[in-house]
Amino acid sequence: MADRSRTHRRTAGRVAAAVPVALVCAFLLLPLVVVVVSSFAAQNSFRFPPEGFSLRWYGEVLGNPAWVSSLAVSARLLLVVVPVVVLLGTLGGYAVGAGDFRGRRALSLLFVSPIMVPSVMLGLALLHQLQVAGLVGSAVGLVLAHVVVTFPFCVRVVAVSAAALDARLVRAAQDLGASPLRAFLTVTVPLLRPGIVAGAFLAAVISLGEVAVSVFVSGARTVTVPVRVYSAVQVQMEPSVAAISTLMLVAAVAVIAVLDRTLRISRFL
C-alpha cells in the first residue's frame, strides 16, 4: 500500500515537473509553428486559421530573382565564413582550452568579448571602419562581420573539447616515436574533432541567421536572406516571407537535431 502511494506520488511529481517544461517548449515553438503554417496558406493574409493549402509562396520565392540572389549570397558567405572561423576558432579554442601560458584567462575573455558588445554597436563600429577603409558594401565587410559574430561560439565549443584532452595521450604518442607535430595531427586533432565539427555547424547556423550586424555592413549586392527578410517585414507582410523563413528554419532544426544525435552537442552546454 505504502509502496503504491509512493510510486503514485512519484508519478504525480514527474507529471508536475513535466508541465512547465512542456509549457515553455510550447511558448518557444509557437511563433515558429505559426510561420511554418502560414507559409502554406492559400490566401495573401495572415488570417488564422489559414484557408486552404498551397505551395504558391514557395514558388514565388524561388521565382523571385531577389530572393534567389540572396540565397546565393547566404550560401557563398557560408562557404567562406565557416572554414575561416573553424581555423581561427580551433586555434583559439585549443590555446585557451588546453594551453599553459600566462594570460590564458585574459585571452579567453578577449575571445568571447564580441558576445558582450551589443550587436548594434558592433555593426556600427564595423560600418565606420569600412567607411574609413573605403570598403562599404563590399563582401569583405560581411565576411568580417560574420566571422566576428560566430568566432566566440566556435572558440567556446572547441575550448570545451580541448580542456577535456588527456595530455598523457600526447606524451604516449611522443614516447612511441611521434614528433610533436605528428602527435598533434594524429592524436590531438582527432580528439578535438567533435568540438571542431560542432563549432563548424554552430557557426554555420548562426551565420545563416545573422541579421543585427549584417544590416549595417551589407551592400546592395550583398543582401543575405535574413537581411532581405528584415527589410521585407518592415515594408509589407507577405506569406512569401513565411516561406523563405520556413526554408531557413527547416535547415537549422535539421542540423541541430542530427548534430545532437551524432555528437551529443548537449554536453558542450
Binding site: F48, F101, L124, F151, V233, Q234, A252, D260
Partner: protein, 297 residues
Amino acid sequence: MSAVAAAPRARRWPRVRPGVVPAVLPTVFVLVAFLLPLAGLLVLSLRPTDAFNFALPGFSLRQYREVLTTPYLYRSLLESLSLAVRVSVTCLVLAYPVAWYLARAAHGWRKTLVFTVTLSPLLASEVVRSFGWRIVMAGEGPVNRTLQALGLTDASLPLLRSPWTVFLAVVHVLLPFAVIALTASLGAIDDAVLRASADLGASAAQTFRRVVLPLSAPGLVAGAVIVFSLTMGIYVTPLLVGGANQPLAGLRVQSEAMVTFNQPRAAALSFVLLLVTLVVCAVVTAVGRLAERGTRG
C-alpha cells in the same frame, strides 16, 4: 577508464600543453576585426561634428553631454534598463525547469526533442522569430482569433502596439541563453548531494531552497548576465515586432546611425549603453559571488 579501474589519482605528469603560439592568429584577428573598429568608434564619439553630423578633427564631449541631457536619448537607456531587468528575471524563471530537465534526464529521444525545441529559436534567425510574433499577434492572428472564439473580445485587439508583445518576443529570443547557462551549472550538481539532502530528511522544497538554488547560483548569475546584456542592446526584434517608435537604446542607436545618419551621436550613445551594461553585469557578478560565499561560509 574501465570497470575495474580504481578512482582516478591525481595527475602527476606535467601536462603537454600548447603554448601561446596557436593563439597568435586568432588574437590578431580579434584585434583587427573587433577591437580596432571599437577603438575607431570611440574616437568617432569624441569628435566635434559639422551641421550635417559629419565628424570633424578635434576633441569634443558634446555627444556624451547630449546623450545624458536629451530625454529622447537618456530615457531610452532607462527604458532598456527596465526591459532588461524584467526580461532577465522572466527568462531565468522560465528556463529553470527546462534546464533542470535537460541537466537531469537520461539521454533519449525526449531529451533530444526538448533540447532541439529549446535551441531552435536560437538557431532560427532573429528575423524569423520576430516575424512569427508579428503573425501571432496580428489582427487576425491566432491570439486574437482565440480570444474572439472564446468570446472574450469582439473586435481584434491592437496587440502589436502593446509593449507586452515586444517583451514576450524578447523573452522568446533570449530564453535559450538562460537555459544554456543554467543547464551547465545544474548539471554540475552531484546527484549524491541531492540524495544526501533527502536522506537527511529535507523535503523536496527544502532541498531546492537550501541545496539546489545556492549551488546553481553561478548559472543564475551567468544566465542573468548574458540575457541582461543582450537585452540592453537588442534592436531587431523590437523594431520588427513593435516598430521604430519605442524608446529603447538599441533602437535609438540604430536610428541615429541609419536613419538620421548622426554616427558620432550613435557612437556616444552606444558607449554609454555598453558602460551601463558592463557596470550592471559586474554588480550582478559580485553580488552572486557574495551570495555564494555566504551560503558556503
